[in-house]
Symmetry: C2
Subunit: 348 residues, 2 copies
Amino acid sequence: MKVTMRDVAKAAGVSPASVSFALRGDPRIKPETAQRIRDIANRMNYSVNATAKSLRSGRTGVIEAAVFQLDRPFYSQLLAGISNAALEHGVQAVAQQISTGKIGHEKSILEKVANQFCDGVILSAGGLSNAEIMELSKGKPVVLLDDQSYQGPFDSVFTPCEDGAEAAVTHLFDMGCQNIGLVGAEFRPFDQALRSMRVVDRRLIGCLRAFERHGLKLAESAVVPLDDWDTDDAYEAVSKTISEGRFTFDGLFCMTDAVAFGVLRALREHGIRVPDDVAVIGFDGVHAGEYVTPSLSTIAVNIDEIARQSVSILCRRINEGRHGAPAMPKHVTVGYEVVVRESSARIS
Amino acid sequence: MKVTMRDVAKAAGVSPASVSFALRGDPRIKPETAQRIRDIANRMNYSVNATAKSLRSGRTGVIEAAVFQLDRPFYSQLLAGISNAALEHGVQAVAQQISTGKIGHEKSILEKVANQFCDGVILSAGGLSNAEIMELSKGKPVVLLDDQSYQGPFDSVFTPCEDGAEAAVTHLFDMGCQNIGLVGAEFRPFDQALRSMRVVDRRLIGCLRAFERHGLKLAESAVVPLDDWDTDDAYEAVSKTISEGRFTFDGLFCMTDAVAFGVLRALREHGIRVPDDVAVIGFDGVHAGEYVTPSLSTIAVNIDEIARQSVSILCRRINEGRHGAPAMPKHVTVGYEVVVRESSARIS
DNA sequence: ATGAAAGCGCTAACAC
DNA sequence: GTGTTAGCGCTTTCAT
């Protein structure tokens, strides 16, 4: 932070340019000179000023992953994956929390997102319109996670909401459930849900498909809505449903594992046995699912694949030469696996 | 990323300097002119180039929090807290993962830490020497989390390892446990532990104190060591202890909640009842502890206080004028609370 | 094989 | 009140 390239150059009796070349191993500097320069730089404890470097080169070498909550297991696992994937691409990843808890702050923080010291951003920002993102990204490449627009202008990576949800509900049917409830869903007609790309609607679509294939219709009373896919909220909501005598389910699909954790606890506190009285399955496949009691069946989405895909798509876009038109936006959906654990393993 | 201050200046028929002042609300620009400039800048979708700004001003307005694992609940809660606290100080926080999983990479990544686009860093880097950190920080302010040196040269924030661990073991004694085990500790003599500031040793010290106060000595067989405070590792280790017939405990203090989650599962799979057969208490107070079954008793450290303290100490240090000598390094220890839940709530 | 010099986009004295 | 100007530390042609 103190010693500059100039200082090193002076000490080595060469020009700043030579130092720059030597330090980056440019072949045009004679190997021995280069080595000498490097030694001196080391001895002086020199390190390049990233800010200056990136002002000049137009590159920072960092990508940013912006999510609403740093402390949700799904996101933290994703962020860890993104960090690792970034390393393999020779860039550095930093994570940023978008939400402050206080509603309304999102946008002001978002404004800083693409403004910042990065070459591109991976954004999980359900709720923002393309126009907003476009404006905020300031021309920097953006990869969207669960983009809410149909084949929008941005590269995007999707979780397998529809298929995963369908598999979850199908699994409950397979386990013999007759009365399946959906925790964290929003009740709406099929055709209306089909017109939306919101994650909550896409998961609902999958559920509706499964119901339909079993010749059943989803009753409004079968969904336990939630403001937020939050463990505490889910616990409260299900507890309330039970105490008000509206709990008639023998199978429960929770829209996320975090929701399921709250649900499991609510059930247990009310003496409802899992899986004997009610089978429970979640969605996400976070690590903690293996450790709760009963262990949680889930739709384990390939979180690592989300990480790898989004990083590699973003890096490709960043490196996309100015030459020629930019590549078409890429939209990929990652895989999932139905993981059956204790919470839905009926011996029937 | 395209339109510069120059462009705005040209469009507004003023100088770049005026744009700069106007945009930052410097009083020396006439209000109406300033407003006009702002309008034009907006219309042109201008936004300042953070890199250039910070090269010039020597400030980035971002602080960085570097931890080994992004996907450990304790760290993610801490990072979320740091993000919020940073916002209140008018700076932006970004999180960075130091570890790649592959051992040996730590240092190379660390080299980038302080190099990067930030004004200071909050570092949780057990294992690095002061000299290394000093070198890597390149003169940027650093706040250490659980610094391993005695009253070292850096500002630091400590978790209440000794007192917390003592409280945990004392709680187990209070619950009537006669045979207390320590999962994730390292067995070593009191005086040797006392000479270390490693987190694992500090927690051991607390345990030893509690044992001593009960006139007991810690047997080597009472510790179940772990390579890493990891849920999977803990599960394996305890499972092994049980199957090998070496499990004789009626009380278990797990060095972290994450460890406890693995322990609870291992116990359950072997039919050992909690808390009836063995009482279990963890350390950290992560959110998930409320939701596992049985819910986890724990030493809940005030994670938010760690966040707030480290951010505020760091910001003060960043803003410390050049005038006069720098303030003495600050060392603070945050509070904790013994939270008794089902896993240790014996009805005795 | 190396050096000189021109900026990258912005800020902050200092002029006017 | 507003414009001029001189860099921040680095990269990168273009000379030599």
